[in-house]
């Protein structure tokens, strides 16, 4: 049942710069979770370090503000312990593509039911504008004394290669569309990425709102692109088209749902398959003692180590 978005607003002062794309993302998160009717207690926002990580203080939830780059592993642990929680990772481009790149890949490999929101402004805002892994080569933003010498990572293509089963791209200032993408991502069972392009008005004076507006377009409105995979055979057929769409980033930048594989089982489903009952008595909430004592005896459990005469 839908709830008021105000229920998700905390008392913390939102300390982002005026005009920051993060406001649009925050707003979209409020609207998405309220329309999905998720109880704040049942929502776990896990943030990394950077401007994006602050989201953990602004969205009312059962949240965890983690280390730089480590939001995904923390979210993984939360989800393993209590699979019934709705887990959203809020991380920046430096956080998820740089220091935490390995974890970003590993989440796709596991296809755990977690939604990753990539706050993608191509710079490190909190530390004053260094080049992030999503900043294209030879761009010189005002904080840089020399043009960026590194090529940029393509988060959506990386996610595709890593095994994410839902990949979308939104734009921070288009909150209505972004909200819908986040809703779909949260509802998806498996690893979901929403790459959220956003201007950084303070440090990225090249990739501005104007820069983005000249390039972005919505795939569902323009070219009848079908990102959905409903059968394994369909994947073989559509993969080249999807890969091509994921690679498109330059004069034209596609937004919307870029890839949605509904055939791959999630990590939770695999766990339940090898350990029936996992979901009904998950580690976080199951009882581990009886009258304050352990209830398993090693001689009854670890029979492979017994020497029986």
């Amino acid at each position: 049942m839908a709830r008021s978005w105000l229920e998700y607003k905390t008392q913390a002062w939102v300390q982002w710069c005026p005009g920051c794309g993060d406001f649009g993302i925050l707003n979209s998160i409020y609207r998405a979770v309220s329309e999905l009717g998720i109880d704040p207690e049942n929502l776990a926002v896990v943030g990394g370090i950077g401007c994006s990580g602050r989201t953990t203080y602004y969205v009312k939830g059962s949240n965890f503000h983690a280390l730089h780059g480590r939001a995904i592993p923390v979210a993984t642990g939360v989800k393993l312990a209590n699979p019934s929680l709705n887990v959203i990772v809020a991380g920046g481009d430096g956080d998820l593509m740089g220091i935490g790149g390995g974890h970003f890949v590993a989440l796709g490999r596991r296809n755990l039911n977690i939604t990753v929101l990539l706050f993608d402004n191509a710079v490190y805002g909190l530390t004053k504008g260094q080049a992030a892994p999503t900043l294209p080569a030879w761009i010189k933003t005002k904080a840089l004394s020399m043009p960026n010498i590194h090529d940029n990572i393509n988060p959506v293509l990386l996610a595709f290669a890593a095994g994410y089963t839902f990949i979308a791209r939104g734009y921070a200032y288009h909150t209505q569309q972004l909200k819908e993408l986040i809703k779909t991502a949260v509802r998806h069972r498996g690893a979901a990425l929403v790459d959220i392009l956003q201007p950084c008005p303070t440090y990225n004076n090249v990739m501005t709102n104007k820069w983005y507006e000249e390039r972005i377009y919505y795939v569902d409105q323009e070219d009848g692109y079908d990102p959905v995979i409903r059968t394994p055979e369909e994947f073989q057929k559509k993969a080249p088209t999807i890969a091509a769409k994921l690679m498109e980033f330059g004069d034209r930048i596609p937004l919307g749902i870029l890839y949605w594989n509904q055939t791959r089982e999630s990590f939770e489903e695999r766990l339940e398959k090898i350990m029936p009952g996992y979901m009904s008595a998950p580690p976080a909430t199951r009882r581990i003692e009886l009258d304050g004592k352990p209830f398993l005896h090693p001689f009854d459990v670890f029979k492979d180590r017994l020497i029986v005469p």
Binding site: L67, L80, A81, Y278, L290, P309
Partner: protein, 642 residues
């Protein structure tokens, strides 16, 4: 009194571990208690590896050198161990290797080759196996030659399997010969083989045939053993034989483990693998009814790295599961940032740290106690945590459970400190040794129904806030300084409140952890010599105490269990009045001695140090103590082991 020690040496991958385990199982079936340990190189296959075993009527405290029997399955083993046989003991080897030269053994370490060659040269001997055998014989060893090639041929003929296949039973041919010579009844060896290869009928049959061939050969060539080993006190009793890795895994599972992550690293991986094997447990009817579920499912996940491992368990612990990760020195280095987060965010997590010989990758498969200060000072920025060290397998089992209790009661990371020697050494344990009813499961201030206005970091007098699981209340768990709700703040007053809150917690930890879990005084409390040590040196030191007493030297031993918060006052009381304080530790910096200087008024007089990566032996400690008493040396470095 039965006291038998053996070494089984051969190439890595040559069945040394299984031979060792068969020996262990034979002896346990016969009713004895065992301590067995494997030494091996950090390589994939081929380099020298050996199993060192001791058998007694009670659980052996330490490995012993020299041994009663060395089984050398290849030439390298003869060269490595010919000096390890006691006078009257046996050296079993293959005379077919008689003329093998030191230089022909590729995997052998160059420094050892050099030492051997100069030894043989000094005696005017050729650098060949025969010289080594001759030296062993001159030192009083009985030489048992086994024509292993011919025996394999016989085995091949009797089983109809090609020589290449039956050569996998080479270890059994040698082992059975040695055990027969030592008077172990052959039926126990056969039973042990059936246990070792349970479910693999052909392998069992081949190995039992190997036993028979070995016994027939040895009986004919050397006659019946002088005496048959009588049954030991535990015959007929069901026992567990387990390594340190195993017992920690057992403790964790019994203690309510819910999520464990790891990234493969020696010697911690075996703990994780053992947990994986038992990560899904069915519970019977009445118990299931009381618990409300009938399957225990532990999530064990091999993560992408150590950073992920620790951060995932932080998430799992915050969500309410008993969560742990297991690692070794290099992996623990990578976890340091998250340890600091766990302190600031007050997350109950258990990190099992299996020390090995560093620095860096150092000697990955060898033992040491070099991460003591690393564990205590892990984490940046005023980050106290609990560090507990187990002295032996039994302690390790209970500590694995208690570590979770402490983590949850005090809402802070607990580092459970162990080492490679405990990890891979195997002991026999009776039902009462691993008795979970001796420990409680306490979860501290864990709220089942947190209030509407829940404050995760509520400031309480004891510094411990009521804890709610993620998912049961709104909150922010954070590594930033924060207010009671978890909202980030840099307010100077709130900063002090929170710093003092976390500091108070550590005073409470010192008060609430009972003295006997902080440090234990062994031996003669009023003796003028006091040994101080921690970790797996416990049992060798205890045996050294007995050895010294037999020679009229009385000593006491303060075993430190809790390394942080350090029980300074208690340790001071334990060594009070001693004329000589001797620290025993396996690191070169004198890390424990540093802690004593920092936390007590004790000024250690001397130290006994072992840094060669091999386990500490009791006889080394005893003779080092005597040497210190005679010479007053400040540091005695002991160096036995191959």
């Amino acid at each position: 009194m039965v006291d038998i020690s053996l070494i089984i040496g051969g190439p890595q991958g040559g069945g040394i571990e299984s031979a060792g385990q068969i020996a262990v199982k034979s002896m346990v079936l016969l009713g004895y208690e065992v301590l067995g340990s494997r030494e091996y190189h950090s390589n994939i296959m081929g380099a020298h590896s050996y199993y060192h075993l001791r058998v007694q009527e009670h659980r052996p405290r330490s490995l012993k050198l020299p041994v009663d029997g060395v089984l050398a399955l290849d030439a390298e083993s003869v060269f490595t161990h010919f000096r390890d046989v006691r006078p009257g003991g046996i050296l079993v080897y293959d005379p077919g290797t008689r003329s093998t030269r030191v230089d022909a053994i590729q995997p052998m370490a160059a420094p050892l080759k050099k030492r051997l060659k100069s030894l043989f040269e000094s005696k005017g001997m050729q650098p060949i196996v025969e010289s080594a055998v001759k030296l062993a014989e001159e030192a009083g060893a009985r030489i048992v030659g086994l024509p292993l090639k011919e025996m394999l041929k016989t085995l091949s003929e009797r089983t109809g399997a090609p020589v290449a296949r039956v050569s996998r039973a080479l270890n059994t041919l040698g082992l059975a010969s040695m055990l027969y010579m030592l008077g172990v009844p052959v039926e126990y060896v056969e039973k042990a083989i059936a246990l070792q290869f349970a479910g693999k009928e052909k392998v069992v049959a081949m190995n039992i045939e190997a036993v028979r061939i070995a016994v027939d050969y040895v009986r004919e060539a050397f006659g019946e053993p002088v005496e048959r080993l009588p049954p030991g006190p535990r015959r007929g009793q069901t026992m567990i034989v387990a390594t340190g890795n195993d017992v920690v895994a057992m403790g964790k599972i019994v203690g309510g483990l819910g999520v464990i992550t790891y990234y493969p690293i020696t010697p911690s991986s075996d703990e994780a693998l053992y947990i994986e094997k038992h990560s899904y447990i069915s519970i019977d009817g009445p118990l299931a009814e009381k618990l409300g579920y009938d399957k225990i499912a532990v999530a064990i996940v091999q993560m992408e790295d150590e950073l992920a491992s620790i951060n995932a368990v932080l998430g799992a612990a915050a969500a309410g599961a008993r969560a742990s990760t297991t690692t070794s020195g290099p992996g623990f280095s990578l976890m340091n940032e998250a340890i600091s987060l766990a302190v600031e965010a007050e997350i109950p997590v258990v990190v099992t740290l299996w020390m090995r010989a560093g620095p860096s990758t150092g000697m990955p498969t060898r033992t040491g106690q070099q991460d003591l200060l690393h564990s205590i000072f892990s984490g940046h920025g005023d980050a106290p945590k609990i560090v507990v060290a187990s002295g032996d397998h039994v302690e390790a089992f209970y500590d694995a459970i208690k570590a979770f209790n402490w983590a949850e009661e005090f809402q802070t990371p607990v580092i459970h400190l162990l080492d490679k020697y405990l990890a891979s050494s195997m002991v026999s344990l009776a039902r009462e040794d691993l008795d979970p009813s001796k420990v409680s499961i306490t979860r501290g201030k864990l709220l089942e129904n947190p209030p509407g206005d829940y404050r995760r970091y509520e400031v309480e007098e004891d510094g411990i806030s009521p804890r709610a699981r993620l998912g049961s209340a709104t909150m922010v768990i954070t590594g930033l300084e924060h207010d009671e709700y978890g909202y980030a703040t840099e307010d100077p007053v709130m900063r002090e409140i929170m710093m003092f809150k976390r500091e108070r917690k550590f005073k409470v930890i010192e008060e609430r952890i009972p003295d006997e879990e902080k440090a234990v005084l062994h031996g003669d409390a009023d003796a003028s010599i006091a040994l101080v040590s921690f970790g797996s040196t416990k049992q060798p030191v205890l045996e050294a105490l007995e050895m010294l007493r037999a020679e009229g030297v009385r000593a006491r031993f303060a075993q430190i269990r809790l390394l942080y918060p350090f029980p300074g006052r208690l340790v001071e009381e334990m060594v009070e009045g001693a004329e000589k304080v001797i620290i025993v530790e396996q690191n070169i910096l004198g890390q424990l001695a540093m802690l004593l200087r920092a936390h007590t008024s004790i000024k250690p007089d001397s130290s006994i140090v072992k840094i060669n990566g091999r386990p500490l032996y009791s006889f080394e400690v005893a003779s080092a103590v005597k040497r210190i008493l005679e010479t007053g040396e400040e540091r005695v470095v002991v160096s036995h082991g191959s």
